[in-house]
């Protein structure tokens, strides 16, 4: 049985990219992104008359999908070899902290009236993309140390 470790390149554009791995690891992320967009931009703003419980369940679908995404990412990282695991965990930490700083900074600017509060309507959708972008940046930076 082939027990080759997972490699981060399977999720990056290039010769090692694997659609199968993409769906297995990031499938729930795509569900979270799509449902977040539908909820925040299309569904909920136009149906505020729906029962509270129903709106709460609809609003939390992307959140639940995100939890399942984190679970599949954790499993994928566990299957990596030690160097890739170190690089990927560092990239994940960088992505989480950088996203937190951007979101907090944006919120402070909304409170100060620099940006309109209506932009927060798509925050969930934007946060996921920020995490992904910062993760890609982190992978690139931390990978260079070991090449």
């Amino acid at each position: 049985m082939n027990n080759k470790p997972n490699i981060p390149e399977e999720l990056a554009p290039g010769k090692y990219y694997s659609i199968r791995t993409e769906l297995k690891v990031n499938g729930w992320c795509w569900v979270a992104v799509l449902t977040s967009f539908v909820n925040e931009a299309i569904l909920l703003p136009h149906h505020m008359d729906w029962p509270v419980a129903l709106r709460a369940v609809i609003a939390l679908i992307p959140w639940a999908a995100s939890l399942l995404w984190v679970r599949s990412v954790a499993g994928w990282i566990r299957g990596m070899d030690e160097l890739h695991r170190r690089i990927t965990l560092a990239a994940c930490l960088f992505a989480a902290i950088a996203t937190l700083f951007v979101v907090v900074g944006f919120h402070l600017l909304v409170v100060a009236g620099v940006f309109s509060p209506k932009f927060q309507a798509t925050t969930g959708f934007v946060i996921i993309w920020l995490v992904v972008c910062f993760y890609i940046l982190g992978q690139s930076v931390f990978n260079r140390r070991f090449k």
């Binding site: 027990n3 080759k4 470790p5 490699i7 990596m80 070899d81 030690e82 160097l83 890739h84 140390r145 070991f146 090449k147």
Partner: protein, 64 residues
């Protein structure tokens, strides 16, 4: 940490991919260890020692 992985691999005529497969790691990890950019974990160092049938100290050294 200095190591003799490259020399030992050359004696066996293994590529980095061959060694990576035998150690259960990626080729990038083998390359990073050989270029001394990454120090392997203890389990991985023991695995390498068992593979080459040498004591760990003969493969890895922290002395200049």
């Amino acid at each position: 940490m200095k190591n003799k992985l490259r020399e030992l691999r050359a004696v066996k005529e293994w590529s980095q991919s061959d060694l990576a497969d035998k150690l259960g790691v990626s080729r990038q990890t083998v390359n990073a260890i050989e270029t001394e950019k990454y120090d392997p974990s203890l389990p991985l160092a023991f695995k390498a020692a068992r593979l080459f049938k040498l004591p760990i100290e003969e493969i890895f050294s922290d002395k200049d």
